[in-house]
């Protein structure tokens, strides 16, 4: 993302040059970029607003997952979500940020030949009360805002994993994996594109806000975990799939709405600039397209479930909204509103078909994270070629594959190690009793009955 700097830098220079004319002649075309340091302030503000909206997505994932697990595992799901978000903040600070944005100082590779492994070191923000010349990049935005914004993307990746592995994974092994994911795995692969690494410079990979760099990464890590972990007890018995209904659907719905809201920051902030007419108008396009894609995903999911099953499935509608959002994330700017709606709708169709498909493969994804983030993420990354001339089908597919192989391979190795060292799964008895009682020693809804055992 940061690479846009050059572009903006140029345009801001253009302004300063154009500036002398400004004001002298009211009829002359005023510069397109706002004068002085408004640019820096506007861009920083975009990151701050975008950042708190993406932070809010952590609550969205938590509510979605808390609503889709059975009541005996709800408190644990909440514990995992608030903990992973906190651990991500630490991992990204300690290693992640500089691994992802080496600003040229690659440990392996160079900007020209292609960067493969970023820099090591703590994240350091600009000093307090800097002047314009102390700013790390006066033509971009404050480093603090960039760090804040990027951290939230890193955390989102971890949130994706927790849902897929719910109701059976132990707390601590999960949190250890989260640390590795947010400190190392995510930042390394993200550097290949957004840090100006080889996928960006050598293969012209296009991924505006992260259908692949964020969502599919979470999806691959979740897939690896789900395979090593195995399905929940009783989920697949004698060839039948035994549904385990979510315990609190309005909470899950709230989660979906929160994610929908947060996504405006996710995609809109990824424009990385709003200090000019063009940039702010682009951010506006992105907001409108992001909403359109989510809407397309919902409508596709409700029509399809009605048609296939004779009844609308709310949980599929929620997944459909998220799949629509993931689908548009790789290119929320170029499509028209109509195109965005259709791209999102395809995402909705994908979840409706792939959720049962995973069940057939006995891969137990409790909340549908893999269909939503991995499958729709792949679709969205490919769909870029439909509306963005800079994207090549090869560049997209190759990058999807490289990221996929890397993340899946590293993740499954780590899952295996964790499993060997400490075991990643609770005992069957603990699982039947529920993780809240067995691992936390409390209940999420101590007064609301124990119906979870009816399943």
């Amino acid at each position: 993302m940061k690479k846009l700097n050059l572009v903006t830098a140029v345009s801001v220079l253009a302004t300063l040059v154009a500036a002398p004319a400004f004001g002298q002649d009211a009829t002359a075309e005023p510069p397109v970029v706002v004068p002085g340091h408004s640019l820096f302030v506007f861009n920083t503000l975009l990151f701050l607003i975008g950042g708190f909206l993406v932070m809010w997505m952590a609550a969205g994932f938590c509510m979605l997952e808390a609503g889709l697990v059975r009541s005996k595992n709800v408190a644990m799901q909440c514990t995992k979500n608030i903990s992973l978000f906190s651990i991500a903040a630490i991992g990204y600070y300690l290693i992640g940020y500089n691994l992802m944005y080496p600003l040229g100082n690659w440990s392996i590779g160079t900007d020209e030949t292609g960067g493969y492994l970023g820099a090591f070191g703590l994240a350091v923000l600009e000093a307090v009360g800097i002047g314009a010349d102390d700013a790390d990049d006066i033509s971009y935005a404050s480093t603090g805002s960039d760090y804040f914004f990027q951290l939230m993307f890193c955390a989102a990746t971890a949130s994706i994993v927790s849902g897929a592995l719910a109701e059976r994974i132990k707390l601590w092994p999960f949190l250890i994996f989260t640390l590795v994911l947010t400190a190392v795995i995510y930042p390394i692969q993200a550097s290949w594109k957004w840090g100006g690494g080889f996928l960006d410079t050598q293969y012209g990979f296009q991924d505006f806000a992260g259908s692949t760099v964020v969502h599919s990464v979470g999806g691959w890590a979740a897939l690896a975990g789900a395979i090593v972990l195995g399905a929940r007890a009783g989920k697949y018995k004698d060839g039948r799939v035994n549904p385990m209904p979510g315990s609190n659907l309005p909470l899950a719905t709230l989660g979906a709405f929160i994610l929908w809201l947060g996504w405006f920051g996710f995609n809109g902030g990824s424009q990385l600039a709003m200090g000019s007419v063009g940039d702010v108008a682009d951010v506006s396009r992105i907001f409108a397209n992001t909403n359109a894609a989510a809407a397309g995903g919902v409508v596709a999911a409700i029509l399809l479930t009605q048609f296939l099953y004779g009844k609308v499935d709310l949980t599929m509608a929620l997944n459909g909204a998220l799949a629509g959002l993931v689908s548009i994330t790789a290119e929320p700017l170029q499509p028209t509103l109509g195109q965005a709606t259709l791209i999102g709708a395809v995402g909705g169709v994908i979840v409706v078909f792939t959720v049962p498909m995973l069940d057939k493969m006995k891969i137990d994804d409790v909340v549908g994270a893999i269909p939503v983030h991995l499958f729709a993420g792949i679709w969205g990354t490919i769909a870029v070629v439909l509306t963005n001339g800079d994207a090549t089908i090869f560049g997209q597919l190759f990058s999807i594959a490289v990221v996929g192989v890397f993340v899946f391979a590293v993740s499954i190795v780590i899952w295996f190690i964790l499993n060997a060292v400490m075991g990643i799964r609770v005992t069957e008895e603990e699982e039947l009793e529920g993780l809240d009682a067995s691992e936390l020693g409390l209940e999420a809804y101590p007064e609301f009955g124990k119906g979870s055992q009816f399943i």
Partner: protein, 112 residues
């Protein structure tokens, strides 16, 4: 005295209660149960997976009445709760040896 246990369809509760009050029943206990029976067994689809719904929500009434009231109470319940559709429920009668009213320590008939 007899304990009358009745399983009925939930939405019939209010009607049955009124009917029972009508014939002078002074108290009862209501609880939610899940029922398994002939009515059970239809299938639903959740996230693309078909499954059989074995348990249907029911309301269980427990009423202790003096022997002479039993027939009328049973009659009232079964006529009021009847819809004619499968799953209307059952009524069971069990003997009660003793009853006590906690507040007054009254016994048996006086306790009801």
């Amino acid at each position: 005295m007899k304990l009358i246990i009745a399983i009925i369809k939930p939405f019939k509760l209010e009607e049955v209660r009124e009917a029972l009050t009508g014939i002078g029943v002074q108290g009862l206990m209501v609880s939610e149960v899940k029922g398994y029976g002939r009515q059970s067994g239809h299938t639903e689809i959740y996230r693309g997976a078909e499954y059989v719904v074995n348990f249907v929500p029911k309301i269980k009434l427990e009423i202790v009445v003096s022997d002479d009231q039993v027939e009328r109470v049973v009659e009232t319940i079964s006529t009021t709760a009847r819809t004619g559709k499968i799953g209307d429920g059952k009524v069971f009668i069990i003997n009660v040896e003793q009853a006590v009213r906690v507040r007054t320590d009254e016994r048996d008939e006086d306790a009801l």
